[in-house]
Symmetry: C2
Subunit: 246 residues, 2 copies
């Protein structure tokens, strides 16, 4: 018996054990990066893992795995470490024809990718939602059978405020919050000093607001930019990233 | 004679000399923060300055100036240094009733704020657009009589890619790009070392793609988080911030 959320039509996939959406209160907090880290961490643990990329602000997910040239007909594309990835961003024939991705279009496309693609057996399907709390992420949340969400935030108090609104909306929809992640939480220097470029941690407030465990405080890490830009995120290793599984 | 863009109805305000929109390729690059810095810098130069806040992802602008409790009837609210601020975020009676801000609603509200509020004489009206290139920022760009846009990006190659799409869209709309700003560009340490947590600068590519001058490379600065969160951004001083005027 599954305790998943039940979208209309009782959408289900027998071979997909756990469907977890990754959400943010606003763009740019590193939600796509954290989705990628959750996927590579669970993959390293020997699980069958997929990513359903609904983040229509740009092809961060395909790029960080080096799959930005994958074609629509080859989805899900398979990353070097065997993660299966299907992205809304790969639907666009060319960069030159930007699609206006409204809520129903995103959710419809995500449902279709979920039901129609050959995912094979998956232990985890991580869903990278559109950022924030506009109707695109909210309708997407309701369009898929979810085991829950992981909420990503950065330390700033204002960022925390928008993420509390996201938490409340998710709770109102009856979707479980499986964990929270504070990204860009601190910056460790070679000499051992710890900087806090985005202010002190507000992870405690996140935990209180969501009732969910803090999965990790992911530091600002210079290596990440280069690995994302060259499609080699699967080479990333760090103690914080290893905490990311639900 | 003005060379402003001409939205339908030839919207104009006699007393407002320069209307500059601040745009980003995606959320979280610091567009609102840069809008705030442009406003405080031009204000310090002795100009009459206003901010029209259309960034519907959250009340960053009111908060950074300590005006988050301003009421609809008191708009524009006036900051400590005399910057006049009107924000879409202040239209919501309470946090508990999130509005789904679609494009036409944002542009309609921005036009109304532009034409109906008592701005007085302004040398600069800075417009904080919704993030990215969804229909909300694009319709907002077309709804106001603009002298141009300032584009904000962070160093990452992917961020650069989404900002090149934003640049192309603005050029297609015939709106001048007055300058580009690379935010979170580097992090200077007390000992003089310079870190690049988000990768090496891609400001040159931005300049080439936009044909516009690089106004500033704004460093990642620990002081910013605290000042934004406590409504004291007007206390911020830095050489990079002083470059921000068009
Ligand atoms: N912990 C981190 N350290 C360094 N760079 C990061 C970190 N997290 C995210 N980034 C970078 O910040 C940018 C925004 O992250 P992204 O995952 O695209 O955010 P979102 O999906 O929330 O919009 C990306 O270029 C990413 O590589
Ligand atoms: N140069 C910077 N140094 C430190 N923090 C910054 C800097 N620029 C922006 N921030 C912080 O990053 C977060 C995102 O900035 P914001 O202006 O809200 O981005 P956007 O409007 O593009 O979504 C805010 O909490 C802001 O205080």
């Amino acid at each position: 018996a599954t305790t998943r959320t039940r979208p209309p039509g009782k959408l289900a996939r027998e071979g997909i054990r756990r469907v977890v959406a990754v959400m943010s209160g606003k763009g740019g907090v590193g939600k796509s990066l954290v989705t990628g880290l959750c996927a590579l961490t669970t993959r390293r643990a020997g699980r069958q893992v997929g990513i359903l990329d609904g983040d229509i602000t740009g092809p961060s997910i395909p790029r960080m795995f080096g799959l930005q040239d994958a074609r629509r007909g080859e989805l899900p594309a398979v990353s070097r470490s065997g993660i299966r990835i299907a992205s809304m961003n790969l639907l666009l024939e060319s960069e030159e024809q930007p699609v206006i991705w409204r809520g129903p279009l995103v959710s419809g496309a995500l449902r279709q990718f979920f039901t129609d693609l050959e995912w094979g057996e998956l232990d985890y399907l991580w869903v990278d939602l559109p950022p924030g709390t506009s109707d695109a992420p909210l309708t997407a949340l309701q369009a898929l059978p979810l085991d829950g969400v992981v909420m990503v935030a950065t330390p700033q108090a204002l960022a925390g405020m928008v993420v509390k609104k996201a938490i409340r909306l998710v709770q109102e929809l009856g979707v479980p919050i499986l964990g929270v992640v504070e990204n860009m939480s601190y910056l460790p220097l070679p000499d051992g000093t710890i900087l806090e470029p985005f202010g002190p941690s507000t992870a405690r407030e996140l935990v209180l607001a969501s009732g969910a465990p803090l999965l990790a405080r992911v530091p600002l890490d210079q290596r990440i930019a280069g690995l994302c830009d060259t499609g080699r995120i699967e080479e990333y290793r760090s103690p914080a990233a290893e905490e990311l599984a639900v």
